[in-house]
Symmetry: C2
Subunit: 418 residues, 2 copies
């Protein structure tokens, strides 16, 4: 039954996705602005539906941090509308030419960006993901299918319906789809049995959700795993104060996000000087340090880091600290324990920097800046659908372009192959 | 047991892959030329090992076409060596800058190509795939793991060992790996249990092999499915003789390959004139036609096409023929029955062509040329690892660049995030 419903819905999505390439940029932008307007106008309705989810969540004993993610207010709705308006201002990637060249036999080859097709977004309790993902997929010409957490079903449905009505009022129908079911099995059915109608699944949620989808999906998955970000402080430091300020910024400016530093690696020749200074600054922000044996010789009283700490994404004011022998050991540590997200080296030696940037196998590798810059806006991509820790198709911050694929268009005048 | 062996082997591959980015282009090219030389020098040894596989295949009743694919001879070994030499001449994509730009805060962002990491190639009875894939993965800085068909184990092992020795003699060790086991379970273990050490799997083989891998793999897969290629002959034809020659070329020049035409779609207003002429030309090449009802009204005596014929990749001198009402119906037919490989429109009307090129959802869309041009060499990419019918990461002919991913390298001088 659910199986049939989902097969029909994904078939409709596939069919409609084929027409979206014909929508002009003007039309898409007008619809995005209308969607933003509608969210603001219908704020009371959204809050009323959201209150149902929040009440049910509290009743069922949902943890405080999840209640917080679930809860909408005026400010959050305004921010959802702002995102849609920003997406309207971004460059439209659809049908852009990536390359164009003439072949010796006179054929002209163009490699042009086209929408991927149907994108399934699986997410958890944040209702703002509904409008963000609709906006990004719509602008890039993809048919989005949204499957939000069952705890946020009323909120997501309300937001989705408003977006859809706004879009329809601009003459665009069936551009995005909503799985209006709390049935846990829906995701399995979608990624396993409806694979021929879905081109990509992007899970936005915790590791267990992502791993479950990867293990059953026949649809390609782009994963946004955790960010175990490192800073390596080299022995040849350009400026000690600068290094302190970068490390502090990476840890404390917003500790709960994926591009915050989780492990600090310090060269042994500078650790004796650098670590006490860093501890003093970190103490002022109540950062808990967990150190290796050598760290604890320098910083007496610091808690010992266990093996698990090197893998940890704390998302909190906690930091693992290790003293290393060399840049080689720092690279080895990162490639062993890291999550391939973002790492930064602080050094003045161009050869050391080059080695680090080349050999660290992560989406984003930085020199002499904070890891916190790993972000679509900071990179100038505009809004992002996430930060891919995968290597295939898209790596690092994923903007509108990363929601497209390409086709080869070859035009000729009678060429045949000899 | 096999599980442990494969986990250790893939862990070694992962480790070695991290060093391959440091190999200079000169070093890689020298090793490729040495590999080519070694295959030619050791031709007798390869033929002797291959003869064992061929004898076993014949004894076990292997079908003639498979025996043919399995069998090596002097010419085929020379062609393997030539491929390696050609790969040495191709541009090295590793560490090329895709984009570089300055941000307002002074950070400089570079998006640069890097190897994907560890690539598993699963293939069937063709021993030449061993050297082609080693060459392409090696030049693009990836650690290849090769898993060939058990029927070709002696041949593949011989080729692999020669390539590895040649590479080692140039000082490069552990750059590619061979699964020296006929155990059918090896592939399952690799893509399911060794996923953390493998970045990509490319199955090169029939549909059942590909589907099996997709259903169990936790590693991203790039599929090279079948090519059900179409030509649509529009009512506004530039030149009837040219159209005939293109259609004939696409069908008969090499019918057993994936970019040969399998279905011909003809606009109703021109079918009465075009189809009899085409049949005459096709008859001269003994092409069997299978037509829709309208086709059979024009071409008396032609066999009726069944529903299955529209999905068929004949790889033979057989062609499905359908008369359509419009370019819209042609597009709809292709998007319904096609495999997303390659399609061509023959027309002189720029609006009709534009519509076809835009709305047909295939990797390669052509106008007024033969589908046979869908090929890495013809596109100027050099050697190809295959033609992707997927949309993620790589679509259409996959050359060296498509065997790379990218990383964001951001350099600064003390930037922190406010």
């Amino acid at each position: 039954m659910l199986n049939d419903i989902l097969k029909q819905l994904t078939a409709r999505a596939k069919k409609s996705s084929r027409q979206l390439i014909n929508l002009s940029t003007d039309k898409k932008n007008a619809a995005l602005l209308k969607m933003a307007e509608s969210l603001l106008e219908q704020e009371r309705y959204i809050l009323q539906e959201n209150a149902k989810d929040v009440a049910a969540g509290k009743k069922s004993g949902m943890v405080e941090s999840l209640i917080d993610r679930l809860t909408l207010n005026e400010r959050r709705i305004r921010s959802m509308a702002d995102s849609l308006r920003q997406i309207a201002q971004l460059e439209d990637p659809v049908y852009q030419t990536i390359e164009g060249y003439l072949r010796p036999n006179g054929m002209y080859i163009q490699k042009r960006r086209v929408p991927i097709g149907v994108i399934l977004i699986v997410y958890e309790a944040r209702p703002n993901v509904t409008s963000d993902c609709v906006g990004l997929c719509f602008k890039s010409g993809n048919a989005a299918i949204l499957r939000g957490g069952s705890n946020a079903l009323n909120s997501n449905r309300a937001i989705f319906n408003l977006l859809q009505e706004a879009c329809a009022s601009e003459g665009v129908k069936e551009a995005f789809f909503f799985i209006d079911s709390a049935d846990k099995e829906a995701v399995d059915i979608l990624v396993r049995d409806c694979a021929s109608n879905i081109d990509l699944v992007i899970p936005r949620g915790g590791q267990s959700l992502i791993e479950k989808i990867v293990s059953i999906s026949r649809v390609p998955v782009i994963k946004h795993y955790k960010g175990v970000c490192h800073i390596y402080v080299d022995k040849e430091l350009p400026d000690r104060e600068q290094a302190l300020s970068i490390c502090l910024n990476a840890k404390v400016q917003r500790p709960a996000v994926c591009n915050a530093m989780e492990t600090l690696l310090v060269h042994e020749q500078i650790a004796g000087d650098f670590l006490p200074r860093f501890k003093k600054a970190a103490d002022a922000h109540a950062v808990e340090l967990r150190g290796c044996a050598r760290t604890r010789q320098i910083l007496k009283g610091v808690k010992a880091a266990a093996e698990d700490d090197w893998y940890a994404e704390y998302l909190d004011l906690i930091l693992a600290v290790r003293v290393v022998d060399s840049v080689e050991q720092a690279i080895e540590h990162i490639n062993t324990y890291g999550s391939g997200h973002t790492e930064s080296i602080l050094s003045s030696n161009t050869f050391t920097i080059e080695k680090f940037l080349k050999e660290v196998d992560s989406a984003c590798v930085f020199s002499n800046i904070s890891t916190r810059f790993s972000d679509g806006y900071e990179f100038g991509l505009g809004a992002e659908i996430g930060i891919s820790t995968d290597k295939l198709h898209a790596r690092g911050p994923m903007g509108l372009r990363d929601l497209t694929t390409y086709k080869y268009i070859v035009t000729g005048n009678g060429q045949i192959r000899e």
